[in-house]
Subunit: 324 residues, 2 copies
């Protein structure tokens, strides 16, 4: 079978679609014929050789496809359309997926749409609810609102919690899209001081939850934006990792919970539990059409380099899909 | 009645025991005749005029005493021995306490022992369980092990969770005392690199929970000491508030939950809920003698200045009590 690897750690030009051994099916795995996969920032770090925890030379952490071998697992049959996280190996014709995290694809969705779900919706679900403990009608600030996780989080927070959703993004097109997805307040971070806008939109109280993909460059403004007893979830450092002045007394005064998290390196058990909780609490919104996967653009897998470059240029609204 | 106030914001010499108006009983309050109260660091900050959220000129946030007016509240009778948190006003002959946070004193305990319970045991209980989510047999690092909160946390973590308890303190006498209370590993922070000792005691995995009273000066060592998915609870900045280099990627890599917290400024409802949960889960250990309040020394209330100086000198093991 064929799969995408990086010849050498480096840029998108290092990616090649080449003959690779079929994945080895182990106890508890399904074998999936991949129809679509999607690009994540972790794939770019992996391509660059910057991730220590990835063993699979084939890139990619999520797929939508068809079960071709159930391996004795009773909940699935050959031919079932499934989506979910994999432990690497997604950019390929076939991949193994632990059966206890596989999710059946709602009938209304194509493979390309389904491939836009697992990583970003599970991350948004995990950060908003498992970590951020978002409650009904609370206020949430979602940075990078037009990103994959951003577009997922806007919808989950509105539909599941009727939250007051405030987002930041860097272009009018992105702001408009986020408003259509349900965001109540949209802020162009290139033109506005987002902390001031957040305080204005929240009666000077600030937000209960922040999804922070940005890190260092937003530190002070995020601190200003968060409410007493706020939960600040750190899931990216696109704006730098090192903060040069952190006043711990400020964290105590506002009783802030700051949690750093990554999804990909977590255990199989965690991913299975998260997927199951997502199925039970959120999947019906997709079946009812109340929440939609957001696909920015679909590339054939042979054009993977262009797909990575598209993400690196920060131009996407929602997910970048690879059709296999 | 008489109570302790600071003439002017400043040192312990500003404290005077003087005639003050009786506290005003409002709906939901008990009126308590105070038999004993205890010194907390928040009292020192209050004396120095550094707390913005204290309205009561009379210092002190916890008491043990006798109910003299039930105010129609059914769960208590005149003459009941009670202990609990108050919203200021503790260093006095009488004080009001919201009835929904009052705790009956176990029969075996004196008023002086009971006054050693509320603030430190509720703080230890809150930080270990409500915030730190300590689970059975997990590993916990408790700084300032011989402090009031430290001595409470060692006992709760051992008795309630059979945790592996590692503490730091600054003298052999304090280390010995912590070992007697149940600490498994004791570290003299003046002589040893505590992070190295913690890693050695935990098979290089680190601890699941840190109770951090120290802040900035321990930042790097605490980071080294904490395990993957660790909960780092920040409840004091005795070693400084400002950290000059925080690497957010490190927080993400270890998936750390860092929570700043203070108990005194929290809402009445929070204190009532916390007290009730503590009664239901922990008070029987005091009745059975499995957990003991730790009293370092008792001063008559007229010697309050000496009591404050004793805390400021960091010489105490456990609580400093004022007998009224």
């Amino acid at each position: 079978m064929k799969g995408i690897i990086a010849k050498e750690p480096g840029g998108a030009d290092q990616l090649i679609y080449t003959e690779m051994p079929e994945p080895k099916l182990e106890a508890g795995d399904l074998l999936i014929e991949v129809h679509a996969t999607a690009v994540n920032r972790t794939d770019i770090l992996n391509r660059e050789g910057k991730l220590g925890y990835v063993n699979n030379p084939i890139i990619g952490v999520e797929v939508a496809g068809v079960v071709v071998e159930t391996n004795g697992y009773q909940d699935f049959e050959k031919g079932d359309r499934v989506m979910g996280l994999v432990n690497g190996g997604a950019y390929a014709e076939k991949v193994v997926m632990p059966a206890d995290r596989a999710m059946k694809i709602p009938d209304a969705l194509s493979f390309e749409e389904a491939a836009a779900i697992p990583e970003v919706f599970l991350t948004a679900f995990q950060t908003l609810y498992w970590i951020g403990n978002l409650k009904k009608q609370e206020k949430v600030l979602i940075h990078a609102g037009a990103s994959g996780v951003g577009t997922a989080a806007i919808q989950l927070a509105k539909v599941m919690s009727n939250a007051q959703v405030i987002i930041t993004a860097g272009s009018e097109e992105k702001l408009d899209y986020c408003r259509k997805l349900g965001a109540d307040t949209v802020i162009n971070y290139k033109e506005q001081d987002f902390a001031e806008e957040v305080l204005q939109a929240t009666n000077q109280k600030g937000v209960d939850v922040i999804l922070d993909f940005v890190g260092a460059s937003y530190w002070e403004q995020n601190y200003k934006s968060i409410a007493l007893d706020g939960r600040w979830v750190l899931i990216g450092v696109l704006g730098g990792s090192t903060v040069h002045q952190v006043r711990l007394m400020d964290l105590m005064a506002k009783r802030i919970q700051l949690t750093g998290t990554l999804l990909t390196p977590r255990s199989d058990e965690y991913k299975a539990d998260l997927s199951k909780d997502f199925i039970s609490k959120a999947i019906h919104y997709f079946e009812q059409g109340k929440i939609q996967p957001v696909v920015d653009i679909t590339f054939p897998i042979t054009e993977v380099a262009a797909a990575h470059q598209h993400m690196e240029a920060n131009k996407n609204i929602g997910k970048i899909i690879l059709k296999v």
